[in-house]
Each structure stands twice: as C-alpha cells, then as structure tokens.
Amino acid sequence: MELEVEGLRMVVMQCHILVYYNYYQRDTKGVVLNNYLNHLITTTTNMTKLMEWLTGAILFLGPWTAIVTTTIHNEFTVMHYQEILLLPFLLVAVFAVVSIAIIAFRVYSFNDCHQEAKELQEQILQAKADLAKRGIKLD
C-alpha cells in the first residue's frame, strides 16, 4: 500500500517535471514558478481569473459560513469560534498590509536612471551634429 502511494507520487512528480521542462524551462528565472503554477491551474480548470477567485472564495467562505452559523459544529469550532469568525477579516487585513509594504518597497527601490538620461542627452547632440552633416537640419 505504502509503495503504491509512493509510486503514484513519483508519477505525478514526473508529469510535473515534464510539463515544466517542455513548457517553461525556456522562461526567465524570476517568473518560472509563477508560470508553472499558473499553467497547472489554467490548463486543468480552464476558468477565467474571475471564476478562479470566485471558486476560491466559495471554497473558503462555504465552510466558514457553516461554522459561523453553527450548521457545522464540533469541539474545535466551538472552542475557537471567535478566531474562526474573525479569520476572513484578518486575512484581508494581513493581505492589505503586506501589499502596501511590497508596493512601498518597490516604489522606494525603483531605479532612477540618471546616467541613462545623461547619455541620451549627449547622443541627441551627436545625432543632431551627424544628421546636419548629412543635410538634415533640426531645430
């Protein structure tokens, strides 16, 4: 039995590796993982992004509503009712804070290409001089 599970795991892994190398090996490093997961999700479900989000929301909020309305209840849900009740709001808050932090950092670390701008200015002068020699007058 254990061997069978192990075998199945190997097959699944092999498939993933196959997809990975055939489809995304040629991609840039930074986006490989994103693409790979993306590829798995979009090719297996063929949903629009909106549908993916709705599906995710239903999968999460369905059980949550059942617990909050005590349709489902057991020792665990009764003991942690407060925490479960607040969970979605907490997740949204954490996501918002993390997002703002990421954006702030990216704004802060956005490269300012002063050198590039200077080089371009110089090349504009060169181009104008050269073009003038070839009979194109620029103002």
Binding site: D27, K49, F110, D112, E116, A117, Q123, L131, L138
Partner: protein, 240 residues
Amino acid sequence: MAGGDKYSVLLPTYNERENLPIIIWLLCKYLGESNLEYEIIVIDDGSPDGTLEVAKQLQEVYGQDKIVLRPRAKKLGLGTAYIHGIKHATGNFVIIMDADLSHHPKFIPEFIKKQKEGNFDLVSGTRYTGDGGVYGWDLKRKIISRTANYLTQILLRPGASDLTGSFRLFRKEALQNIVKACVSKGYVFQMEIIIRARQFGYTIGEVPIKFVDRVYGESKLGGSEVIGFAKGLLYLFATT
C-alpha cells in the same frame, strides 16, 4: 552573424518630428554596429507637425531598404498601426517600440540575444526587475505605476513583470496572431498582448530596460488614463 534573421522595427509616430531623426539615427547606429539585417517601418498617422516630411528626408539619407514609409491619412490608434506595419514587414522578427526616445535602441541587441538564448516567441522589455528602471518619474507617477503593476500581477498572474511597456520583440507570426486577438486600446492593449500571448502558448523572455521619459513633446498620465486602465484590467480579469 545575422544567421538569416531579419528584424523589422515598427515605429508608429504621431507628432514626433523632433524625436524621429534621433531615434532613427540611434537605431541605425546600434543595429548597424551589431551587423543585423533590419528595416525600420515608420507608420505616421497624418501628424500635423510634419513628421512625415522629416521621415522622407531620413529615407533619402539612409536608403529605401532601411527606412520604409507606410503612412496613414489620419490618427487611427496604435493597435491598427501595428497591424498595418506588420503587413509590410519583410523580417521574420518584429520589434515594436515608441518613437519618443523613451525606448533606447541599445537594448535591441540584448533582446535578440535573449530571444536566441531561450528560442522565445516574445521578448519583453521590463522596467520593473533587475537593472531596469525609469528616469523622469516623480513619486506620484512611481506610486501609480507600481500599484497598477502589483494589482495586475495579483489579478492576472501574467508571468511577465512589465505589462504596460511597449518595447518588445516578436516572431512575426506570433505578433500577427496576438494583435488580431486583441480588443483593447492604450495601456490595456499592451497588457492584453501578454495575456493573449500566454493563451496562444507563446513563450516570453524578459530583458531589463531603462526607460527615459519623453524629452520632446507632451507626456500624459491623468485621471482618465487611470480609469481606463482599471476598466481594462477588470475586463481582462473577467474574460480571460
């Protein structure tokens, strides 16, 4: 060294009289130095500032094989300008870029190298990773740009870091297929290009670019651009 590949650069212009000679001079410099086979296709949409007259002068200097003029009578937008340009492109690769000097031709040899490295269908310039960056953006513009990019990454998971940039290299058939499938305009059109490319199963490589905001002419980023972008993002979110 070219290995049989030819590169067609599509330059859509609208009121770029001052920028056009410079961008063409730079293109000829860098592409010439790299010994590439190339042509520059200028698609001018009846610019009232006389861009086309300047283009004609440049054609006399550089030759009709290098500078190809495919003007249209009136301003019909970027998307159709690309379609119009591709029809006349004789290369097997097409490069699209802005004529306003914000895209420096020196990156093109890097795009080509990247394309060959991974045999990519599309190579996209990116301002948001590695050595990429911008010049001439104030804090407000940086915040808007980073936020828009972040939202796009979360909602669309496009597998490319710069969706709104328009400095890219394509296999010609890939660009043809992609552009035909696109419905949006403006920034959203550039974004849709990447999304449709993924739908076609095209591979995408990225090269960091340094973007210098236009020196001559007006730059625009107002409330209406932001609203248009938000609408377009939601459209792609709901339909793709």
